[in-house]
Symmetry: C2
Subunit: 153 residues, 2 copies
Amino acid sequence: MTTSSFSPRGSKQEIESGTAFQPKFDENGLIPAVVTDAGSGELLMVGYMNEEALRRTVETGEAWYWSRSRGEYWKKGGTSGQVQTVREIRTDCDQDAIWLKVDVAGNGATCHVGYRSCFYRAVRRNDDGGVTLALVEPEKVYDPGEVYGRDQG
Amino acid sequence: MTTSSFSPRGSKQEIESGTAFQPKFDENGLIPAVVTDAGSGELLMVGYMNEEALRRTVETGEAWYWSRSRGEYWKKGGTSGQVQTVREIRTDCDQDAIWLKVDVAGNGATCHVGYRSCFYRAVRRNDDGGVTLALVEPEKVYDPGEVYGRDQG
């Protein structure tokens, strides 16, 4: 398999309107990846990729990330079975963010806490100006105590 | 108006399962915000907030960001009219990402290049292993030459 190569950053015009993929990695060598369910469109998670993780994702069609907490490559689902098959990859105007549309294998959940999406809580502002979180995705797909592994970012 | 205050970071258990909003800002004081259309669910953009921008967003119900390129607060739509009215705010398991569901005012577009979404291009892998971008949102909502201002991140 030929190694996919990304282009060096060009002019603002090239980045915004061109056809060369010129992803911008931050000072830590990372680019954020927004992950949605290819079928429902639901936001599942936000992960981070370095250049090699992005290359593996493009080449294998399965999502790879860089775990900032563990400092290692992280194939989503490697432990949990919640493998993400990539249906489409997009980038934004500045090419400093990635959007993955995926199908989730295994038990269909994405979050290591047990929910389908990592975004299971909403921010609510109270009358007194305080801010609290409310659970808006009440049902867990699985009990993380049973399959909890190292499959988290 | 009482100033909204966020909670200091607690234990892993508190962060993942609690009701206290304990957003994590990175070493630059920023947290990424994924922005989707409250009606269609379409991914519109990824922006960044510092604590004050997040506070303004929570308190005003309109999206504020921190512009990394300009080093200033950025009320989305302040120049373009593409104001984002926030319908729901969520956070993820680690509380290190924000999800805004918004209604977009003005001409309904989000991207300063003229498209409805900033994610108007898909990453395609060619037979030779090369990677290029393909325009997947062909119609611009407006000509940015006419209203192009400082309303971009």
